[in-house]
Amino acid sequence: MKTVHRELGLTDAEFDQIVARLGREPSYTELAMFSVMWSEHCSYKSSRNHLKNLPTEGDRILVGPGEGAGIIEVAPGLAVAWKIESHNHPSFVEPFNGAATGIGGIVRDILSMGARPIALLDSLRFGPPDDPRTRFLIDGVVHGISSYGNSIGVPTVGGEMVFEDCYAENPLVNVACLGVIEHRLMHGRGEGQGNAAILFGSSTGRDGIGGASVLASAEFDDGSLDKRPSVQVGDPFTEKLLIEASLELIRKDLVVGFQDLGAGGISCPTCEMTSKAGTGIELELGSVHLREPDMEPFEVMISESQERMLAVVEQERVDEVVAVCSKWGLEARVIGRITDTGKVQVRSGGEMIVDVSADALAEEGPVYDRPYERPRWIDELQGSDPGAAPPADLKEAFLSVLSSPRVASKRWVWSQYDHMIFLGTIEGPGSDAAVIRLPDRKEAVAITTDGNGRYCYLDPYEGARLSVAEAARNVACTGARPAAVTNCLNFGNPEKPGVMWQFAEAVRGIGAACAALGTPVTGGNVSFYNETNGRAIYPTPVIGTLGILEDASAAVPMCWAEPGHDVVLLGTTSPGDLGGSEYAKVINGTVGGLPPELDIEAERMLIETLVEVAPLVSSAHDPADGGLAISLAESAIAGGIGVRVDDLGRDDLHLMLFSETPSRAVVTCPPGLLKAVLAVARMHGTPARRIGETGGDDIVLGTLSVALQEARGRHDDGLTKHLSATLV
């Protein structure tokens, strides 16, 4: 026992804490349960102290952090669930199944709130796509998401795909899910002494044993590819049955409380649900439906077999619950009862093998105030050349940025995803944010994920603020008002003070920006230990913003509708904003200097402007990666209409075209409405000026002129030309 805890990922001090808490040595099964519940992944022990400072409250927030998902009120009696999760490590070990089970997990989180999952977003980061190993990862991850998401019938309506060297050995797979409450909001509470605990869904096998502690809470080294027993295989068909059966149970008011099984297996909902309710639970391990007969009790308690849920049910309703499950072809078994002991007690073969306080497992894990320190190298980095030197050939530079894998069309990805099912996708992949009309309603929500690891690497505080601003702006471009944020914080090893500093700064930035924009944080996920062989990824907070649109048919597209419309730039371009830009990286091979500076008040006013001009404009799209030139080109390509922009100011053209100044957007409108658009902007103090006109077969930006056809060709195959090489 003296060293077993280390293999399970617990420190000596944590082990001593467990002994002190129990007043005795833990049994092996108890120790295994502590190891998963006290893992970084489940307990947030390194991040809690920082996360608690995030703003979490608002008029529309019905449920904030701490439950399966945040709940946001869209209209009276209409609420949605919103949450993001990471599945980085499993996707590196086995891309197809890692990504697939990532989808499965986030969908069950949404389901656990009583919501029907209705849309997914995938936020992906990989190394350079011309590396064969990366191509294998991309293909596996995209195929895994597509095969799982498509089968369960939840559309994947948007996401991101970013390429940087730092993700080569540690790709990021973050997935966000939107759900709509169908009947009533559920809470993960195990209430009512004597009530039955019913485990339903897949059988329990040895897959994914220790996933939370071994895979998600430790760094990788070269031996990691051998951590195979932890690989889980997803079964989307069973997940689909689980969705329908769960929603039917809720619709029929058959369950008291409800939670999904994810990281930590059976251990997790049993202690969390009873700890929240102030009850206890008694489990009989022999009742668990096993896939492999000879499993050890500890394996049963922490197995992360997929597609399972735990429901707390009144005794009189047990038969009905079992009947609903069996209609859907799912095994459902009573595995225990709610007690009033405050304990999780587990019997196996008549013997009590676990007898611990539920709070100790769920609530009283260690909390670390990890030391942090601004790393020295950051000064040198910020002082280095931002890469603003002019290009040898402006046109070729434009086409190179437009066709860089990060900027190029992601159609290859999203055409593999069902993005239309439910008849609600008003704006799908390809737009700034996806606009999803809620089933049988006129209201819609706009959802997006955005993160900029490069900016965060240069300055984690500013980078995090910029990511929050970009996500909110993307939502506002569709005409929706940003309402809530979920976030996935992908960082390196928190035991390193430099990484911890990046984390603390990023969280501080998110908090500040969310507070200023009035978008509370309703939940999220922290993924630490994104390091392989000691090399950390860029600090990468991914922000998932949800906005509300009262009328789906009023959504604003990003593509140009007609020739002859006025092109208006909202906001001002600071020509020096090239630090960390796509231009600097692609043309000058540099990531250095400072990221653009964000004036959050200007951003807020821009968002107000965008929401208010929505009825007047024919399109809206914000300049992001690649700057104004790319944003104009994207709208032109998507609409099949050229553009002529003359008024680009006096500075060097390449600075005007490629600077990534935030708080800007390009809108178009019929000439008759120009005055009205400008007036709205003026009212909010947002600088606005007509810079050109849509039309023609070319993209003309000052002295730069490119045929629309050529631009489209480069944008279309910028990503696929790397991927097509040897994929199987």
Binding site: N150, S151, P236, K240, E244, D418, L423, P439
Partner: protein
């Protein structure tokens, strides 16, 4: 009287609600039929919707044809009743032998969700009455196994009989003779890979799906009791297989 449409729900169906919504918006009375039932309610049209009926693990549609309801569906079709299979529903119809051929993996070995253009090659079917000959419809596809195959003799016979009802203008999946939708010999059974229910609203990008779904409702409206009796046999072929 409103046309009555029954949408069969297999456990892994996932487009059944979309079909219900689309048919309702076109004025039909729609009910869901659980796959474990053995009898069909009184309906004018049976729809097998898209999805992954029983997980589609072995082959798409392989297990679904054994669902209890399928015997009644087969009897309905044999009596000339209207039967429409969309996407997975089409795959099930082929597996069940109600339509000829089989659907293989897309030639590009990728799942494809995309808008496509379909040419209506036969307007004399219960499902294409609203179309003009050669009309091009904008309707999306969403599948991994939509690559239709039949042996040469079957294919040639079907082409000659006008059973290749809908063809892709730009073949996305390798399907033989660009087939997107095919019918049985007597025309009462249609299977198609594209999703007309996703194209019944301008806000979603197209209303062309109404041409197909609306045509069959029109036909039922003209003869609600025995729609099959009005069917114009496309050829002398009794059955397709």
């Amino acid at each position: 009287m409103k046309p009555r449409v029954g949408v069969v729900q297999f456990p892994g169906s996932n487009c059944e609600q979309d079909c219900v919504r689309a048919f309702r918006s076109l004025g039909a009375e729609v009910e869901m039929i659980w796959h474990a039932e053995e009898h069909l309610p009184e309906v004018d049209l049976v729809v097998l919707p898209g999805g992954f009926a029983h997980g589609d693990y072995l082959r798409t549609g392989a297990l679904a044809r054994f669902s209890p309801i399928m015997a009644a569906v087969e009897a309905h079709a044999a009596a000339g009743g209207l039967l429409l299979g969309i996407c997975n529903g089409f795959q099930i119809l082929c597996e069940a032998g109600l339509l000829p051929g089989a659907l293989r993996k897309n030639a590009g070995l990728k799942f494809i969700c995309a808008w496509t253009e379909l040419r209506v090659d036969n307007v004399d079917t219960p499902y294409t009455g609203r179309a003009t000959p050669g009309q091009v419809l904008k309707i999306p596809i969403n599948h991994f196994e939509g690559n239709w195959y039949a042996d040469d003799a079957t294919k040639d016979r079907m082409v000659a009989n006008g059973q290749i009802v809908l063809r892709y203008v730009d073949n996305p999946n390798g399907s033989l003779v660009d087939a997107a939708g095919i019918s049985n010999g007597s025309g009462n059974v249609l299977g198609l890979m594209p999703h007309p229910e996703r194209a019944c609203e301008a806000l979603l990008g197209s209303e062309d799906g109404k041409v197909i779904l609306g045509s069959v409702l029109d036909l039922i409206g003209r003869s609600p009791r025995r729609p099959a009796s009005e069917l114009k046999a496309v050829s002398g072929l009794e059955s397709a297989t």
